[in-house]
């Protein structure tokens, strides 16, 4: 918590359940933990397509998107959300968790996923990672014309798949 204490930024975070699987125990725990940590959490509910998630992200003007996938479709769905976010000119960081074998981490990292939390990760790990790696996107959120999304330089997180590289949109 040391780093986060020095930068107590309240974030708008989209917590999404993409794909067909209905396992929402983990995602609800994460949503509640992030909310209790002081962030504004928008939970999409179940059975969202990538298009629906991205539409919500744009509408809610979020600082990051996190996805929970336990259906094995992560290699399809994560890249799809990232591509659609980029097309929507909202290239915010995407992270997530679920049942994801370690051997797929490298692929997901290459496709722009910033961190993967697998079963056994504590809510505190997620909260700390968010505090270190996600930043408010723009100072004037209320303005009508949304400022062009801009990626800030990020430090590499200590958690499994924090990516030091950023993808340019």
């Amino acid at each position: 918590m040391s780093e986060s204490a020095s930068r107590p930024g309240k974030l708008r975070l989209l917590v999404g359940k993409v794909g067909l699987d209905g396992h929402d125990r983990g995602v609800k725990i994460i949503a509640r933990a992030l909310r209790d940590a002081g962030h504004e959490v928008i939970y999409t509910g179940l059975h969202q397509t990538p298009e629906m998630v991205v539409a919500t992200a744009v509408q809610e003007d979020v600082d990051a998107v996190s996805l929970s996938i336990l259906s094995g479709a992560h290699k399809t769905l994560f890249p799809r959300v990232i591509d659609l976010l980029r097309k929507a000119r909202l290239p915010v960081p995407v992270f997530g968790g679920g049942i994801i074998p370690e051997e797929d981490f490298a692929f997901l990292k290459r496709r722009g996923v910033k961190a993967i939390f697998t079963p056994g990760a504590s809510t505190q790990e997620v909260i700390d990672w968010v505090a270190r790696n996600i930043h408010p996107r723009a100072p004037a959120r209320a303005s009508v014309a949304r400022p062009r999304a801009r990626l800030e330089k990020r430090k590499k997180g200590p958690v499994r798949a924090g990516s030091p590289k950023r993808r340019r949109s």
Binding site: G19, L20, R25, R35, Y43, G72
Partner: protein, 560 residues
């Protein structure tokens, strides 16, 4: 009088022990923690004695095996007569892939099949639906049309195996496909044995794989129950499931209460539709989660049987003792498995399976050690199956009925869990029954709360998961996992498109139109679904036709 003096002597002895032996011991070294609780948070005393069962009447609370209230088990001989059915849930990839796994399992001594469908099938979507992208054949086998079901059971005589199908929202369609395959094999429907899960209420509560809103969903279920009672009399038409409620994070008592309340809801719906309770109740079955808190789990199975028999005899006036019996399947708790040090899962599963057996389950699935990482490999499944065989053949636990009965602790815990569950059922009754309670989000909220509470206890170290928050190891363990080939999805889509091209388009359209007609009216939906299936209409086409009449379910609010 004599008994009273015995009670007094026991009390005196207990007080003496407390003031002398125990106090000294506690002064020398305190206990490991101030309070002890089960994994569900039920407080556990230091010691249970005859005092705890002072007003406990074995005749009333236990009875005899196979006799009301069935605490000791649903059958008079239990495992001495017949061991539990060893039933490993499996399915992946294409129907051909899964067919090979089934034949392997049957060759290795498994005694029943259990079909796992992929996510699109569970949601009533075809493999080429845009929403199925990336999910085809991943978590289970992909079934689109009757042609897939034929391949799934190729060279497996349906008259001789018993088959459980884990399918809920589109259960009527998959059951119809199974019946159609049986007909093609020349198997008599009267001889078919098996189960469809078909428990939609727990989907709204916990697993969240739904298609239609609750009320039309229940109509379909009632239609299936009526149809099978008549035509497929040995089939278990519903498996009322606590498993997923527990996986979603409920306590043991919540698992019991919400599941039995679902059961009450189904019985009520069938009666309202004019079915006589004893005509269908003997075919209702249940499905529990075999979780990690050993004694609490055994108590749960025992309390479940006692509550259900009272509900069926008391509340519903069932006369047939078979209607009073709760028969159950059990599966070890997926959520208790760890990705860290996955070999430890073998031990967890063995202990959970032991509790299910001591609790008197009728069939059992033991999870494979690698299931937090993906679908299980053949080797992992074999170890899981061997675990059951070791329990059955080596440990001696199947030699006598309900061996823990009469234990001060076991009976106190059974009573306590029964009471807790009954209180919750009463709350649900007060809300107007389970459907109303679900619409108000009551079970959903209770579960989310319990799940968050457990997570906090875990993170504070008050509850322990070995390898996760204690006895951790740095390096990730390297075990083999099952890979689903990326070619499964395109292959399955091609097969579906081939069926669409080959089938008699007019017969297919006619069958779907007749189905829509039946859905709008009030006639039983099973015959038109069977016709549609036999005209090679796909799962997605049939469900979408029904969705046109019944509408689609949306979760109104989400609690977290």
């Amino acid at each position: 009088m004599k008994r009273d003096s015995g009670v007094l002597t026991r009390r005196r002895a207990r007080r003496e022990w407390e003031t002398e032996t125990l106090r000294d011991s506690l002064q020398r070294s305190p206990e490991r923690r101030p309070t002890f609780t089960t994994i569900s948070g039920v407080p556990i005393e230091r010691l249970y004695t005859a005092e705890d069962l002072e007003h406990w009447d074995p005749e009333e609370k236990l009875g005899q095996p196979g006799v009301f209230p069935f605490t000791r088990g649903p059958y008079p001989t239990m495992y001495r007569g017949r061991l539990w059915t060893m039933r490993q849930f499996s399915g992946f990839g294409t129907p051909q892939d899964t067919n090979r796994r089934y034949r392997y399992l049957l060759e290795h001594g498994q005694t029943g099949l259990s079909v796992a469908f992929d996510m699109p099938t569970l949601m009533g979507l075809d493999s080429d639906d845009p929403r199925s992208l990336g999910e085809v054949g991943r978590e289970g086998v992909a079934i689109d049309t009757l042609s897939d079901m034929e391949a799934l059971f190729a060279d497996i005589p349906l008259a001789r195996v018993s088959t459980s199908m884990t399918i809920n929202a589109p259960a009527a369609v998959l059951l119809a496909m199974y019946l159609a395959v049986a007909r093609k094999q020349g198997a008599d429907w009267g001889a078919l044995q098996g189960t469809v899960q078909n428990d939609i209420l727990k989907e709204y509560i916990a697993q969240k794989e739904w298609i239609f809103p609750p009320r039309p969903s229940i109509r379909i279920i009632v239609d299936m129950i009526a149809f099978c009672t008549d035509r497929v009399p040995k089939w278990n038409t519903i498996s009322i499931s606590g498993y997923h409620i527990r996986e979603a994070g409920s306590t043991a008592a919540q698992e019991l209460a919400f599941t039995l309340a679902d059961g009450i809801g189904y019985v009520q719906a069938c009666r309202e539709a004019g079915l006589e309770v004893d005509s269908f109740a003997p075919r209702l079955s249940f499905f529990w989660n075999a979780h990690s808190d050993f004694f609490e789990e055994i108590a749960k199975y025992r309390a479940a049987r006692r509550i259900w028999s009272n509900v069926m005899r008391g509340r519903f006036g069932a006369k047939d003792p078979r209607s009073w019996t709760l028969r159950t399947h059990a599966q070890t708790a997926g959520c208790s498995l760890t990705a860290q040090q996955p070999q430890n899962n073998i031990v967890r599963v063995a202990l959970q399976a032991l509790s299910a057996v001591l609790g008197g389950t009728q069939s059992l699935h033991t999870n494979s050690m690698d299931e937090t990482l993906g679908l299980p490999t053949e080797q992992a499944v074999t170890i899981a199956l061997r675990t059951q065989q070791i329990l059955a053949e080596e440990t001696g636990v199947a030699n006598t009925i309900d061996p823990l009965a009469g234990s001060y602790f076991m009976e106190s815990l059974t009573d306590r869990i029964e009471r807790e569950a009954l209180d919750l059922i009463e709350t649900i009754d007060g809300m107007g029954g389970i459907v109303a309670a679900i619409e108000q989000g009551f079970p959903q909220r209770e579960i989310a709360e319990a799940s968050f509470r457990y997570q906090r206890e875990l993170e504070r170290g008050e509850k322990v998961m070995v390898g996760v928050n204690r006895y951790t190891e740095g390096a990730a363990s390297d075990i083999e996992t099952l890979k689903i080939s990326p070619s499964v999805e395109p292959r399955q889509i091609r097969a579906l498109q081939k069926v669409r091209k080959k089938r008699d388009e007019r017969a297919h359209r006619r069958a779907l139109a007749a189905l829509v007609e039946a859905a709008r009216g009030g006639t039983n939906l099973l015959p038109p679904i069977l016709d549609a299936v036999e005209a090679y209409a796909s799962v997605g086409e049939i469900c979408s036709a029904l969705r046109g009449v019944f509408g689609a379910y949306r979760e109104e609010k989400t609690y977290f």
